[in-house]
Symmetry: C2
Subunit: 718 residues, 2 copies
């Protein structure tokens, strides 16, 4: 048999060959052995799950293993096999992949550990493994992976026992930690959360979390994608997945570790991954509508709930329970998480009271009380579900019984009517347990009968999940409004403006409003310039060699009258000469004084992973003490920059404070967008940039100062 | 039979008679009936729980009910009964309490609803109920209560079916919402969390959440107190409980709703409770070491874990799991919640590597990996548990099996060795499930055999619980160091200083450093005063009728030289005359200019519920935009005021910023304490006070301005 030509790799994003990996027609366990726990478990998982394709075994002695005759090599099987599950020792892995590839294998999971995670020698072995796979066009998952599960096609190619939930579609789980993948799958089983795939990506020598995400974005059984990430190895692939997901409306939920320093250390020990700047990652999650969460439970509850609700229409949440105490906790939790709970309007209140005689004044959250009649619950949900102000209904109630002890005719009636009301509502409606619960066979039967739209995560997690759903739905709508997402454009103009003046003049040519300025080379010119502007002025030393002018006494603010200007001129020049004797001094810049406004900082720096990052913050204590900065990767668009302004902790400052008029956010965002475009045009040699401050008063926006830092540039002398 | 003399009420705090309520020797169900779900459930609960005392039934027809002969009245029983469970209709409740009291009853739970929660008529009926109880010295729980459970003594006097956890000591649950009490009890059952009492306080006409808390503080079976609160009806009792708990080292954990406006509305509909100022409550929680949480799950997990660990010694948390991914999530979660995870020191790392051949570099969090040998886990915990830098060990691991499917010899060995290591460690050590799990009979058996110190709440909740435990332990130590908690001292001195000058002079007499000041009545005096101070000065209008001087142009800052002082004097007096023509003008205050420092605001206002509240914040945007204020109820002490300074969002400003030296926090706290004492001496007619700013530069602290607002005082004219 002639091996087929190598399959093409990395066309069409990075998803080529991933179908052969995740949806194989046939499988071979390479290194099958009675002694191996992984071999036994993987084989049992595949057999018990009902996988319809062939499962071959390769054992170097050709023994009978797990009751089945094995082959000595893949070549000996005599037919092409899509997927190889490799569990041979690390030192034998390269040869096994070579054998598998020669036999026409298309994708392999390497469970074996002892590669990059162990140090330099392991890294070298891992590279050889990758090379062997590339020769044959075999896609590799791992090494050091626990494998993957494709519930929809009954492919449970996983090294630990794993149980399938009832619904084999819903969340696609991708995790860089095998154990975390298992905990997520186990939690999904316990709460019977719908799952399409569980993929543990291990050391990611080839297939990584991003490429699997790219694949799942277009997978019809996957309604939401849940990622556990330590580091993103292929930022371009990750961004392709994120942009496409936002475009077609498939939610991505991410639990990414690395916010703490200690974590950076653990991650290094764990997979050798370098943990990127968490704040940049946070910014791009906001930018591309990725829902970021902080715990395993939140990850799964959020992806399940967003998968079920889909994109919500504008409006708030209607919360219903049969306990006033729970309604109060829900109201606090919703406020904390930014969910709106629009109150019941007067006609609806009247309609509700008509359905529920003797009932008090209905509010949202709505306490239906312990004494409610089951049919009244359904009617109340029907009335509330028809209200335009609500985009979704969350009903917290007793859990679906998991034993006959918990059953009662009344509870059954309640669950029946609640479910009917929620299923028939105009907007997505979910029934959620009060606290985290399990869904066992007993509960599954009831859910099957009542068609209960039930999530057993507890209402606290459900509210945080709904916060994600509301936010993501808004991002969805914004993405549609702002049209296509901006594409990278980094042609370099060849210019290299360096001094403050050159930087500001460059910006001015690009349409960025810049404060008027005159370079004076003597006192008289300074006075003349000041008189020309009228009012108070600012003097600053003009030197391409002095970056931090204030620090050396090179700035004088708020100068009123000729005498003040003259004395400031002398003071500044003297200070510059004494603090930076070698600096070239072009003179002194004279500008009108700008105050009674808000000062922003607009910056850019290049992230090793994500490229140019735009930072927008408020000046003074906001940025210095509170690190109040919003980040986005570039390019981006005006609407997104406007979002950056509104998400600042000090956003109120822009809404008008202490006699300063409210900033025109559209005007400010437009100027920042022009600054960003102008920067990008300068090409990748511009490694960092600051416009500090960008002064704003109403719709009057001006760059007052700017600093460019170029690649390989000698540091300014001061 | 002569009824006994009424029992004394409200001696020794508010706990008198509560023992008769919660630990009755005999019980009567008043209004027992086959038709009543409550009657049936309460009777079944009492019978099945193994209550050793007599359970009588009273039914107005004297029927056989629940298979037992009932009496027509309590008097007919012929013996004194401690506890009455009243489930008669609302209109019959007063007569029933009267009958019960005449027969010598000591305490009653009134399950019946239809009282204050329904409006004015219900409130009146509730007051009559209370009056009837007072006549006989009967303590009342409710009305509109679901009852209570005393697991330790098998008194399940509760209106819904309730299941007992294995350990009948641990958390004492007190809830103003009956349903929430039930959810807490049910969650405790599912996770087999130790519970001593569950008390639903209902409308709180007599016994309230505070009085039960006071009782539980000294109850030996209660190791931690978990409260669900909508409003505190008896602040004095609440504070007694909190202070005593802090004194004797019994943790109180509180879930209090009311942070959101919507909640305030729901609560009004629910129990007619007025929700107090949430920020004041938050401040007093910090002040008295009450752990505040935000969800039902967090409430229970925190009280269980703090009950188990007790007060922790100084040091950080050692986190162990067998997954690198989990270690990373734990590190992020710990940082987010302020838990320190001190890294493993070099000798310990060497010792660990000696125990675990081939193991990488050990860190904290410690990933023991999936390949660890069970006995090595025990040894690793032994080594880490002996380190002084760790105050507790949290080990996240696979849950204890709930079925044979989940069992394996290896997992059993792991649980055995982990438990042994944790139980023998020098510091508290807990085993926690990765995600929320249940503890059923299968798991209970394993826990019994392995003595696993197991909490099934999931490691995310466990970390938030440990954050509470660490914080509470620190408050414990601080409370011991600061000695007795300050006692209220509010003798009024009879003084009523009113103008800015009078206020500052009053403070000066009381030892508060105040900026020097001279009142000038003409330009010449102002110039002389300025010359006397030297340097730049400030001029401010001096008038008892002008409170907000800046707003009318009554302040001039940063004046340098005679000309500037003269022109400012004229400007200020003119501005005052034109803006407030009727104001008395005493002249112009001349003070040295204070800048290059940090400006604090020190304020006091009287809370309707909690009395005088001290507010300390940073001036400018901090207080105006960020509401960056720390609150404590008065009186308090210097150590606590120092804590207020360090918990400000802008605390970094006090650590030295932008060339301003670090503030001497002890000096600042001492001055604020003097301000607080001086205010309290002025008595309750002083309804509000501001020292704004309190200027701080290093150890130089000065009040620059002060404003007193007196009861019934005419508002200043400007």
């Amino acid at each position: 048999m002639t091996p087929p030509a190598p399959a093409p790799v990395r066309q069409d994003g990075n998803t080529s060959g991933i179908a052969a990996l995740l949806r194989p027609r046939s499988i071979v366990i390479v290194g099958a052995s009675e002694k191996s726990r992984w071999s036994r478990t993987t084989f049992d998982n595949l057999m018990q799950s009902g996988f319809v394709g062939r499962v071959h075994l390769v054992n170097r002695r050709g023994d009978v293993v797990h009751g089945q005759q094995s082959f000595e090599t893949c070549g000996a099987i005599g037919e092409q096999v899509d997927l190889g599950v490799v569990i041979v020792p690390a030192e034998a892995a390269v040869a096994s992949i070579d054998d598998f590839g020669r036999a026409g294998g298309r994708a392999a999971v390497v469970l074996t550990s002892g590669f990059a995670e162990t140090g330099a020698a392991g890294m070298e072995l891992q590279n050889r493994l990758h090379d062997a796979a590339k020769v044959h066009g075999v896609r590799l998952l791992g090494p050091n992976s626990l494998g993957f599960v494709n519930f929809a096609d009954n492919v449970l190619s996983f090294a630990t026992p794993i149980r399938a939930p009832s619904r084999r579609k819903g969340t696609g789980i991708v995790s860089q930690s095998g154990a975390t993948a298992f905990f997520l799958a186990e939690l999904a089983y316990q709460q019977d959360i719908g799952v399409s795939y569980v993929v543990a990506t291990g050391n990611e020598v080839d297939v990584d979390v991003s490429s699997v995400a790219e694949y799942l974005v277009d997978d019809p059984r996957t309604q939401a994608i849940a990622l556990f990430i330590e580091t993103v190895r292929d930022p371009a692939s990750f961004l392709r997945a994120a942009k496409r997901a936002l475009q077609i409306g498939k939610p991505i939920v991410v639990l990414k570790v690395g916010a703490s320093e200690v974590t950076a250390k653990s991650a290094a020990a764990h997979t050798g991954a370098l943990v990127g700047d968490d704040r940049v990652f946070d910014g791009l999650c906001r930018q591309f509508g990725i829902i970021r969460v902080r715990s395993i439970e939140e990850l799964l509850a959020t992806s399940e709930i967003v998968a079920r609700t889909g994109a919500l229409r504008p409006g708030g949440l209607c919360f219903i329970s049969n306990s006033g105490g729970i309604c109060e906790i829900a109201a606090d939790a919703a406020q904390l998480r930014g969910i709106e709970l629009p109150d019941v309007d007067a006609p609806t209140a009247t309609a509700l009271q008509g359905t529920m005689p003797g009932f008090g004044t209905p509010h949202n959250p709505l306490d239906l009380t312990g004494g409610i009649e089951p049919a009244q619950c359904e009617e109340a949900i029907r009335i509330l579900g028809g209200q335009e102000r609500y985009a979704a209904i969350l009903c917290a109630w007793y859990s679906i019984p998991v034993s006959t002890y918990e059953e009662s005719p009344r509870l059954a009636q309640l669950h029946h009517h609640l479910s009917k009301g929620l299923n028939e509502a105009d907007v997505p409606g979910l029934l959620v347990s009060y606290t985290p619960a399990v869904v066992n066979d007993h509960a599954k039967k009831i859910i099957g009968e009542t068609k209960a739209p039930y999530v057993a995560c507890g209402f606290d997690r459900a509210i945080s999940a709904f916060a994600g759903a509301f936010w993501w739905s808004k991002r969805q709508r914004e993405a549609k409004q702002s049209g296509a997402i901006a594409q990278t454009l980094q042609r370099s103009s060849g210019e290299r403006p360096s001094s403050e003046r050159a930087a500001l003049e460059y910006f001015e040519r690009k349409g960025v409003p810049v404060v008027p300025a005159t370079v004076a080379v003597d006192e008289a010119q300074a006075v003349a310039a000041a008189n020309g502007y009228g009012g108070r002025v600012v003097l600053k030393i003009a030197s391409p060699d002095i970056a931090h002018k204030s620090d050396i006494g090179g700035v004088a603010l708020n100068l009123d009258g000729e005498q003040a200007v003259r004395s400031a001129y002398r003071r500044i020049v003297d200070a510059a000469r004494s603090h930076a004797p070698d600096a070239r001094i072009d003179g002194v810049i004279v500008s009108p004084m700008r105050d009674r406004g808000v000062e922003l900082i607009v910056g850019m720096s290049r992230d090793a992973q994500w490229g140019p990052v735009l930072a927008v913050g408020l000046g003074g204590v906001w940025v210095e003490v509170l690190q109040d900065v919003s980040l986005r990767i570039l390019p981006t668009h005006v609407g997104e920059i406007r979002n950056m302004l509104t998400e600042l902790k000090g956003a109120k400052m822009l809404a008008g404070q202490r006699g300063i008029p409210a900033a025109d956010l559209d005007a400010v965002a437009a100027v920042i967008a022009r600054i960003a475009d102008a920067m990008l045009e300068l090409g990748p040699d511009l490694v960092a940039m600051d416009v500090n401050p960008l002064w704003v008063r109403g719709d009057h926006v001006e760059a007052l100062d700017a600093l460019f830092v170029w690649q390989d540039e000698t540091e300014p002398t001061a």
